[in-house]
């Protein structure tokens, strides 16, 4: 059964034991407040599902883009709007980190900046070959990456040279480059095959019969550095807002 979420920006369906969250439409799936809220509302439904034995979630997208990052056009350089998207993304990341089931990103198109972060919020990243880059674009668009992005990247790639390459050279990584660098689990020939492989992996994981609560909590331990940075970042922003309001 397909559930429409929010303004039809994403759908959540169940295929056998596995949930599939799809970012719908042919656009860039920019992470504006509406889309983030949509995704969060889907994740909330998953939090409410029975946790033992747990299921698995696959996130994928229609079209040429997995997600091209924050909706900068919507923000129009408004600090407040940028701040809002950033806060919401942090909440979304926290939702993924605490989700009581394994998560798999089936990256079938470009994933850049916050869009790459969205992919990295998943336990496994499977990706389509030949078209589509993972691209931490911030350096190229004159943005400084938040520390929690770095913390997430650190938890997902053990190699500091890779981290430096990704951030300091704004490298565009194809699926095969990303596999070699240990960021992506496996690369596949087409969007369909990527999703099929994700479903197979999901089913393998479900067969383990894990307790979702335990799974979510263990993941939170594993990614505690990220959660800490998210909290710190949140506090810093609050302080700045307080200072601004005093002036």
């Amino acid at each position: 059964m397909r559930q429409k979420q929010g303004n039809q920006m994403c759908t959540l369906e169940k295929r056998g034991n596995i949930y599939i969250l799809t970012l719908t439409g042919s656009g860039e799936h920019r992470l504006n407040p509406t889309l983030i809220d949509s995704i969060r509302s889907a994740l909330r439904r998953l939090h409410a599902e029975p946790t033992s034995p747990c299921s698995a979630l696959i996130t994928t997208a229609h079209g040429k883009f997995f997600s091209n990052g924050f909706d900068l056009a919507w923000a129009q350089s408004s600090q407040q709007r940028l701040q809002l998207m950033d806060s919401k993304l942090k909440l979304l990341a926290s939702d993924f980190i605490s989700l009581p089931m394994p998560t798999i990103a089936a990256v079938t198109g470009h994933a850049s900046a916050a869009g790459m972060i969205l992919a990295l919020c998943h336990d496994y990243v499977l990706m389509k070959k030949d078209r589509g880059f993972l691209y931490m674009s911030e350096m190229d668009i004159r943005l400084v990456i938040p520390e929690w992005f770095m913390a997430l990247l650190k938890c997902k790639t053990g190699d500091p040279n890779v981290r430096r390459e990704v951030i300091m050279t704004a490298a565009k990584l194809t699926a095969e480059m990303a596999v070699v660098r240990g960021i992506v689990h496996s690369a596949h020939d087409s969007a369909e095959e990527t999703v099929d492989a994700a479903v197979r992996l999901g089913e393998e994981l479900v067969k383990r019969g894990w307790d979702g609560d335990v799974y979510g909590k263990n993941r939170m331990v594993l990614l505690s550095e990220v959660s800490k940075k998210i909290e710190l970042d949140h506090d810093t922003v609050e302080e700045e807002m307080k200072t601004k309001s005093k002036l």
Binding site: E147, R164, A170
Partner: protein, 232 residues
């Protein structure tokens, strides 16, 4: 002790003279003075810095002779403390420099001299001559600056060994080839038209842990592009 010249869009900092370019206060001050000049350049689009050296040595570490030639043990101790403090300040300046940095290592480079090279974003090295040499000396805080958590247990690394261990970006046939490759890389990086301040701030995020160990106070320096100057 060092010269700073502009070559097209690139800056070249050269440790001059045929000696070992030992890191005594005078040389460190000289280098920091050059880096200060660079900070005053336009930040956008950013330039790039290449650091290289004349002669058989890139940099052979602290000036131990100067340290040990003091008239008493306490003065010796304070000389070493001074060199360590100034060196850490230099590394902070390098790490917060608002442009990509490349070390063209054209000769031997040991202990703190090697750390100086590692303080750059890219390390290119000559393969026909010259080693990286980490002695057993306790160099205090400097040992925390090893990029990539690589603990160097080999006493001597050739350029090729260093490339294999991914400590060094690439190895080249001669001193001249190394500098040429550095210039090529520098021009590539300048072509990206990055914002120097953003570049420095992203570098500070990536090297967050290193800064903690140097004693760099991020709340004083400002992460939001207010200042990229060293506290020390």
């Amino acid at each position: 002790m060092c010269t700073l010249e502009k070559q097209g869009n690139l800056y070249i900092l050269t440790l001059t003279g045929p000696g070992e370019h030992r890191l005594n206060p005078k040389l460190i001050d000289s280098i920091q003075s050059a880096l200060r000049l660079l900070r005053d350049q336009p930040l956008y689009p950013s330039s790039a810095l290449i650091t290289t050296a004349h002669g058989k040595f890139f940099c052979n570490g602290y000036d131990l002779a100067w340290g040990q030639s003091a008239s008493s043990a306490p003065i010796t101790q304070s000389r070493f403390q001074l060199m360590s403090l100034k060196f850490r300040s230099l590394i902070s300046d390098l790490i917060s420099l608002p442009m990509p940095t490349i070390a063209a290592v054209t000769g031997h480079s040991s202990t703190a001299g090697f750390m100086l090279a590692l303080g750059h974003d890219y390390v290119l090295m000559r393969k026909d001559r010259g080693f990286i040499y980490m002695s057993e000396l306790d160099i205090g805080c400097d040992s925390c600056l090893v990029y990539g958590d690589v603990v160097l247990t080999a006493a001597k690394l050739t350029a090729e060994m260093a490339v294999e261990r991914r400590i060094v970006h690439s190895a080249h046939e001669s001193a001249q080839a190394t500098v040429e490759a550095a210039v090529g890389l520098g021009n590539e990086l300048v072509r990206r038209k990055w914002d120097g301040r953003v570049y420095a701030n992203n570098r500070l995020v990536v090297l967050g842990e290193v800064l903690d160990k140097i004693g760099f106070d991020e709340t004083v320096e400002g992460q939001n592009g207010d200042s990229t100057k060293s506290k020390l």
